[in-house]
């Protein structure tokens, strides 16, 4: 399908995104000056607009709407910054996922082996085509080269972010859109395995095992390797050719963009509450949620308020700015996190390791620190893919970093020890630790003359301290074995309460100050934080609680446990009321109501 002009929904003011191909270039200035409120305008690059056959690329030679220089000049004249989003995967708001029509040959299949089909905000259905087709990669590389030449020729010094598009699946995991299980993927995978085998056979150093797929787990491992290889090829093309403008890679979750959302919309049953939960899951995975697919449902609805507060005013600016700049800008609210859980990978979703859930830690965090922890990859999912929004040093020191040794390489362990030495707070689960890593850890403790205190609390727990730094060492397999009832590993729903209590005590040793909420069904919330300013010297920091009632019932939320906090102000009240008591606050939320409450954390 060829791209066509359609003025509807070309501008998403909340996230400052402008779909330049949807509006006549003669109307760009009017549309942008009327609609964009923030400091920047995000321009997703529409590859298909700029080429018909892959050999010639159009940047204003033929189509006026391909004139990116004119667009950039207009935006700058309006006093805004320009940021290009360059797709490194299919994206759901573009016909064919963004692939030019002449390349839309081989379907991409999701994990259910259905042709990826995603609906946009105008109820148009876009079908994805496989990025594992070598012709697609070659044409992409040519386009990037042409784009780079154009930027240099026109001296357009705009920041470029490589976008890994994806969705949040029903398990709250991020599934990137490059994922494919079509015959095209399988052909490429077969060639990949063949090359692996030839390389293994050709090795001179001793015996090597030929690549043999003898279990589903092993097949998944090699499929992930192949996926990473191809994803890295697209990334490297962009990063190397656009080096002068390149800022990094940004994973983006399109809310409403899961394959299952398509069928929900066919039934007319897509749920606002599910969209909000998906957005919160995205943030917890350090993935930027975007509302462009569901924007048609916004307007007065709770979705618009939610995305403005969670994304436009907070997560998005924090992602695009440098962390050192953020630390200087104390008055910008950032999402509040107390803990990072490090997993082997975040992308691809399928087969994601749920180690921390199996050992009860994630359950406890979801109960006591809802939406206040993140899940990050131990090492970036893509080699050479530096991610946006790495925490500043100060934020890293205040978080609790949870690592599992079974996911650590020597490089990963080095990072753990560096965090500790820089004043960080680390919990390292030594279950299944590689003997080499154990030896390295033991050497580290001896070389630095560190004191280790052991305590028997359900299991042996060791604490290593160095000034403000703290490292807790334990073996979760002992914990699970101790409370196993002879049936094997506990599914999450059967985790003994003692396991969850164990983690509660471990976390309590870090003395986190927090107001824990247990809201009724349908009420969603998240926290933000910022430094106290010069008029707030009584406080260590300011925290903002955003509450949303995503149900059609009236709800009451009781907030207690505020001994260390002061209520400062209430804002953005929509169909809601707050009542203060001696020791608690009661918030009444009418259907689709919301409000925000600022608290000061006393020094």
């Amino acid at each position: 399908m060829a791209s066509s002009l359609n003025d509807l929904n070309s501008l998403f003011p909340g996230e400052s995104i402008f779909f330049y191909w949807k509006t006549s270039s003669t109307l760009w200035r009017d549309k942008l000056s009327a609609g964009i409120k923030g400091e920047r305008v995000i321009i997703p690059i529409n590859w298909a607009l700029h080429t018909v056959n892959g050999n010639e690329h159009d940047f204003a030679q033929k189509k006026p709407e391909s004139d990116l220089k004119k667009l950039v000049d207009i935006i700058r004249e309006l006093g805004k910054e320009v940021v290009f989003f360059l797709p490194l995967t299919p994206l759901p708001f573009l016909p064919n996922g963004g692939v030019p029509p002449f390349l839309a040959s081989y379907q991409a299949w999701c994990s259910d082996q259905l042709h990826y089909s995603i609906m946009d905000q105008e109820e148009r259905v876009h079908h994805f085509y496989s990025y594992f087709d070598p012709k697609v990669y070659r044409a992409f590389h040519k386009f990037i080269q042409a784009f780079a030449d154009y930027l240099q020729q026109e001296k357009l010094g705009c920041d470029i972010w490589g976008i890994i598009g994806g969705s949040i699946d029903e398990n709250g995991e991020f599934q990137d859109y490059l994922f494919d299980r079509s015959p095209t993927f399988n052909q490429g995978f077969g060639r990949f395995l063949q090359v692996q085998r030839e390389e293994e056979m050709g090795e001179e150093s001793g015996e090597s095992e030929a690549v043999v797929i003898d279990s589903p787990g092993k097949e998944r491992y090699y499929q992930n390797e192949f996926h990473t290889l191809i994803a890295t090829m697209y990334l490297d093309s962009a990063r190397e050719l656009l080096a002068a403008n390149w800022e990094g890679v940004l994973p983006v979750a399109f809310i409403g963009g899961d394959q299952r959302d398509l069928f929900s919309r066919i039934s007319g049953r897509d749920s606002v509450a599910d969209h909000l939960r998906a957005a919160l899951s995205a943030v917890s995975l350090d993935v930027l949620p975007l509302s462009t697919l569901i924007a048609g449902e916004m307007g007065d609805s709770i979705l618009e308020t939610f995305f403005n507060n969670l994304v436009s005013r907070s997560f998005l600016p924090n992602k695009l700015m440098q962390s050192s700049y953020l630390e200087q800008q104390g008055n910008i609210f950032a999402p509040l996190f107390f803990a990072n859980l490090y997993r082997p990978r975040i992308f691809q979703g399928e087969g994601g390791d749920n180690h921390f859930r199996r050992i009860g830690l994630q359950t406890l965090l979801e109960q006591r620190f809802t939406n206040c922890f993140q899940q990050l990859a131990v090492e970036p999912d893509l080699p050479n893919g530096s991610f946006a929004g790495q925490e500043g040093e100060q934020q890293e020191r205040e978080l609790i970093h949870f690592f599992s040794a079974r996911h650590l390489s020597l490089k990963g362990l080095k990072r753990v020890l560096q965090l500790f030495m820089q004043g960080g707070r680390v919990v390292l689960d030594r279950a299944e630790i590689d003997p080499v890593l154990q030896k390295r850890l033991d050497s580290f403790i001896i070389e630095n003359s560190l004191t280790v205190s052991d305590v028997n609390f359900h299991i042996l727990v060791s604490e290593v301290r160095l000034g403000d730094s703290k490292m807790v060492l334990l073996d979760s397999s002992q914990l699970v074995a101790k409370y196993r009832d002879g049936k094997g590993d506990h599914p999450e729903s059967e985790l003994p309460s003692k396991v969850v209590q164990f983690w509660e005590k471990i976390i309590a040793t870090f003395e986190i100050q927090h107001i824990s909420l247990d809201p009724p069904a349908g009420v969603l919330f998240f926290w933000h934080t910022r430094s106290a300013n010069s008029q707030e010297l009584n406080f260590h920091e300011i925290r903002r609680l955003n509450l949303y009632n995503a149900s059609s019932y009236k709800r009451k939320v009781v907030i207690g446990g505020m001994e260390k906090f002061a209520l400062l102000k209430v804002l953005d009240e929509v169909r809601s009321e707050l009542h203060t008591g001696r020791k608690e606050i009661t918030v009444e939320l009418l259907p689709w109501g919301s409000l925000a409450i600022d608290f000061g954390l006393y020094l």
């Binding site: 259910d112 259905l114 109820e123 148009r124 259905v125 069928f263 919309r265 039934s267």
Partner: protein, 131 residues
């Protein structure tokens, strides 16, 4: 024709290619919930189904078992028909739909429909009261 219809997209089992499974079961109320699916599976197969999430059911040893299950579910939920769509056919035909309206037109033309005989016999509430 999209109303009062349960749709089921199925294909080979994800864990055992010798079996088949339903990956998307949805109707007027959206995806069929896990509890309803699990209960119906237990009633037919005599064993608990591994939790796979809303709208997923399986595995089934034979296609006939899957069809029988889908029909029973259709009756349990109280819809007029169930349309079972093979994954390959879905992939072939869905490409032609470029909008929500087109999808809603194309879906009922895919696969094979099984009418719920009990549902059509039930008739309107008036006929139930006066019969």
């Amino acid at each position: 024709m999209i109303r009062n219809t349960l749709f089921g997209i199925y294909g080979v089992g994800s864990k055992d290619p010798a079996t088949c499974e339903l990956t998307h079961l949805f109707g007027d109320e959206g995806y069929v919930d896990s509890e309803t699916i699990s209960r119906a599976y237990l009633e037919q197969e005599g064993r608990a189904m591994e939790q796979m999430g809303a709208g997923r059911a399986g595995p089934f040893a034979r296609l006939e078992d899957l069809q029988r299950y889908a029909y029973a579910l259709c009756d349990q939920i109280g819809v007029a028909r169930v349309i079972l769509i093979d994954r390959d056919e879905y992939n072939q035909k869905v490409e032609h739909a470029t909008s929500l309206d087109e999808l809603r037109e194309i879906l009922p033309t895919m696969g094979s429909a099984m009418e719920n005989a009990d549902h059509s016999k039930g008739g309107t509430i008036w006929s139930k009261i006066f019969n």
